[in-house]
Subunit: 267 residues, 2 copies
């Protein structure tokens, strides 16, 4: 599937915990989001609020390779924090900024169907891997000029909620919607972008395509931690997403306007 440059623009923007946890940065980011001309979807992560609530409730948290093991009590906590507290506060702020925002999780209108992760050696608990995105429902809402705010909770279709990685949700939605839209996928995170020198925030590589990525990798100039993110970006581009941008979430306005961060395209 290749992107169609005459299609309507759609921004799929993912913001992570570092923004969600910081009210000032969050407001700044939502203001940038409210300035988008055209269709937009915001996917938010969880941040430290879920970890804090688990601590307050004496629910022990176990992380394996950076992933939260989601037992039944933890699932309740992340459902409350992600789909309740964070999602509704973001939507209320966006509404106050004049955005017709609607907060949904993957279970709502069967937006994102998933299955419980099966792993040979690790039991992740109620963690879901995405199977299917409800393209027509998302399209319907976008066509009514609704901006969708998505909490990273999905379901298996049999009544079971599942905790799903927000980066993956953003990518799944971006690739699914690229069947109809020219999708720009933006990942707001804590760094300026892809850096040539990981210790120098001024060394942002402004544009990377497949060829340049291969060259940089061959020269071992891509920081190891960035490789999964980059590989995921190229996967999204292969599936029809028009561009992937990675940059500092607090510079969301500049990211949206393509004047900060790293833009990744196929060619």
């Amino acid at each position: 599937m290749s992107s169609n440059t005459t299609s309507e623009l759609l921004y799929v923007i993912k913001i992570g915990g570092n923004i969600v946890d910081n009210p000032v940065l969050l407001t700044q980011c939502l203001k940038a989001f409210s300035g988008i001309k055209g269709k937009a979807i915001l996917v938010h992560g969880g941040g430290k609020l879920a970890t804090q609530l688990a601590k307050d409730l004496n629910v022990p948290q176990e992380m394996v390779e950076g992933r939260r093991i989601t037992d039944a009590e933890t699932l309740k906590i992340v459902t409350m924090v992600y789909a309740g507290l964070i999602n509704k506060n973001i939507v209320a702020q966006l509404q106050s900024l004049g955005v017709q925002a609607m907060g949904l999780s993957g279970v709502d209108a069967n937006l994102i169907k998933a299955h419980k992760r099966v792993h040979a050696s690790i039991d992740y608990g109620f963690v879901g891997d995405v199977d299917e995105v409800n393209i027509s429902m998302i399209d319907n809402l976008l066509q009514q000029n609704t901006s969708i705010v998505i909490a990273p909770i999905t379901h298996d279709g049999n009544g079971q909620l599942l905790n799903t990685n927000a980066d993956t949700i953003a990518q799944s939605i971006a690739t699914a919607m690229s069947a109809k839209y020219a999708v720009h996928l933006i990942y707001g995170f804590e760094k300026e972008g892809v850096l040539l020198d990981v210790n120098n925030p001024n060394s942002v590589i402004q544009h990377i395509n497949k060829e340049k990525y291969q060259n940089l990798k061959d020269q071992q100039l891509i920081f190891e931690g960035m490789i999964p993110k980059m590989d995921n970006a190229f996967l999204a581009l292969d599936k029809g997403v028009q561009s992937v941008m990675i940059g500092m979430a607090e510079k969301m306005n500049e990211l949206i306007n393509g004047i900060a961060g790293t833009t990744i395209t196929q060619s």
Copy 2:
């Protein structure tokens, strides 16, 4: 405004805490909901889960005349429990029953705008009284055969979430939607209906209209606790709702089919 008997049917069903707290009764109730032929909206209350979470988090709860005083910490709790945990679990169950359910709060898509309650002597905190229902958005979703599941959290349009009584939300939506639909408003609660003898569950009054209500009141045959519910029901009927049914939530199937509980109509 008078109801139009040729309009499309819409069921607005409110279930309270006693059902939400009981997984078996909740499933039974959702099965009945899934059997509705036509458009349907489910409004759910909170139940004891919010009270329990407040206790677990050492957030003291204050009730004044049966209403929860909602300070900032309590608002976080009810947002998490109502809009997160309860709402998403109900939607996941309805999806598993084949209902294209979408869980929303009043803030989502600006569904229910409210204002912070002003009271001469009591500070209710972040409690909202309903100002306006977004009729066209609800209608859009219903026309896509989406069943809306509403958590009783609203907003003031300036970024502030507000805790709002679920009975009031059900009534506000029912009256607003009666501009287009023939609305049946059903309140599922813990009694069989309006009883002639409050101690005898077999003394349900099957049908009450304004005249009969006045007669029963004159004879002091209406239990005092029912009077606000009845007055609210007649208010909804005055504003165009076609019928109001009150009965036991676990008999939702019979309520929907009009063979249990008390049906209240204007004439």
